[in-house]
């Protein structure tokens, strides 16, 4: 690890004033410390922001706000989350390990970097790590990589489970900018596709910090599911994951939400399938149709063709599981 200056920030504005391209902020550290050990992140200066970010979950009649410093575990234990936004808790519990969830912050979860093995191996070309060097995964071991939304520059996927639920629930990211103003950005616009700038994971402005996440009240707290398919039963990143939620009237789908992890550079919403499900009967046939719609246009890479049928099965299973209330 490269030597760095460590300081603890006492106020949000002070932290923001330090933000530049040789300084990095640290909260949970579960990804950043690892990236520093791997010589991928080499900040000259590290600023501890754990005490300047909001670490509370607040609720009002219409929404919930989760401070950027709220640890992942705290979200899963929160009574309001469990009652009104259980999909979020379920997705978080599918990720990492209890120890990591105790450490990881909400803001950091959004900012975690891809787990593409080539990104982690500094002896190999990687456009995300070192722009212009090429993408090793494109022709290499890309079993874990993207099947949608990738570019010829980068086929990495976003590793978060929590973010898949936040995408499905149409969350909003609130930012604090350098002049202490707050700005909102729709969660689905927070992360970006690699295009020609694979080194950029998201649209967080250079002069801003994540302040909090908010989710509006929604009817998706009864019929929901998070299905994560992975090589082992726990403590592994997703091959594919599906967050599904249905609002039902009898057996009729009033509205649906579907999002996936492990498929793209960002948490991926399946809006076309959501539209399709609207007004349909909640049956296995409907679910299978939705899954087919989702998997129709996908373009897998050399080693991850299996993700297409796997995703099909995951979508069907997730939608089916939605019918088993509060499982």
């Amino acid at each position: 690890m490269r030597p760095f200056i460590f300081s603890k920030s006492s106020a949000l504005s002070q932290a923001l004033s330090k933000k530049n391209n040789t300084t990095q902020f640290i909260a949970g550290g579960t990804n950043l410390v690892d990236l520093m050990k791997k010589n991928i992140a080499q900040p000259e200066s590290l600023v501890d922001i754990t005490t300047v970010l909001p670490d509370k979950i607040t609720t009002n009649t219409k929404s919930i706000q989760i401070g950027a410093m709220v640890r992942n575990t705290a979200i899963t234990n929160n009574a309001t989350v469990k009652a009104k936004y259980p999909l979020l808790a379920k997705a978080i519990l599918a990720g990492a390990s209890p120890q990591i969830r105790n450490m990881a912050s909400t803001g950091g979860n959004l900012l975690q970097r891809t787990r593409c093995p080539y990104f982690y191996d500094i002896t190999t070309p990687c456009n995300k790590r070192k722009p212009g060097t090429g993408c090793s995964a494109m022709q290499g071991q890309n079993r874990m990589n993207a099947i949608v939304g990738y570019s010829d520059q980068c086929v990495a996927v976003h590793p978060s489970d929590m973010c898949v639920a936040l995408a499905a629930l149409d969350a909003t990211v609130t930012l604090t900018t350098k002049n202490n103003k707050q700005e909102n950005i729709a969660f689905t616009n927070f992360h970006r596709l690699p295009e020609n700038l694979p080194e950029r994971d998201n649209n967080l402005p250079a002069n801003a910090l994540i302040h909090s996440i908010s989710i509006n009240e929604n009817p998706f707290n009864k019929n929901y599911a998070y299905v994560k398919l992975r090589d082992r039963d726990s403590y592994a990143f997703a091959l594919v994951s599906v967050a599904a939620a249905l609002q039902l009237s009898g057996n009729t789908i009033v509205q649906a939400r579907l999002a996936s992890g492990g498929v793209a550079h960002k948490p991926w919403r399946w809006t076309e399938a959501e539209q399709y499900l609207k007004g349909k009967a909640a049956t296995a046939t409907t679910f299978s149709e939705a899954a087919t719609m989702i998997t129709k246009g996908l373009k897998p890479l050399s080693h991850n063709g299996f993700k297409v049928p796997l995703l099909h099965g995951a979508v069907e299973t997730a939608l089916q599981n939605c019918l088993v209330a509060s499982q």
Binding site: R2, P3, I5, Q99
Partner: protein
Amino acid sequence: MKQEHSRRFFLKTSSVLAAFAMIPRTAKAFYEEVKNFFVPNKEVLPLTVSINKKKYSIKADTRTTLLDLLREDLHLTGTKKGCDHGQCGACTVHVNGERVLSCLTLAAMVSGKEVTTIEGLANEDKLHPMQQAFIECDGFQCGYCTPGQIMSAVACVNEGHTGSVAEIKEFMSGNLCRCGAYNGIVQSIQKVAP
């Protein structure tokens, strides 16, 4: 290995370093071609940490993780290094009563916090019930992951995740055991769980 380093021209002192950020982009580009560069000095930080209820006032390299602080600087070697990258759980300790990974925790970040390691779990000469259970249920073989398993198991019980074998297994899956002593680990937790 060189690629990331030779791109930047590091200066020796921190005060100049701050100024360096102000150097215009074009000037920076020049330095990117420099092969040999001055490497930065290590930064040392005074820390006060409480470990197993004992206060330590120490100076640590900013890069030092809590794990290396425990093992190399304080010789509290009960906390184990199994991967050093947050992928095995062998380094699990409690910080302010919660289980965390000491390999992904910078020592600088625990200043002012209460750290409990396996060495602090027993009450004088009386083992913690979880330690006793691990002995009785043979919840280990080689013993290397054991301190991490036990710290995690104690937390697992405190968190109330002991409702079924499946729940215990899920909430203990952040602690790898290559000997595969999972039978005994689950039994130990069942023994201690309310």
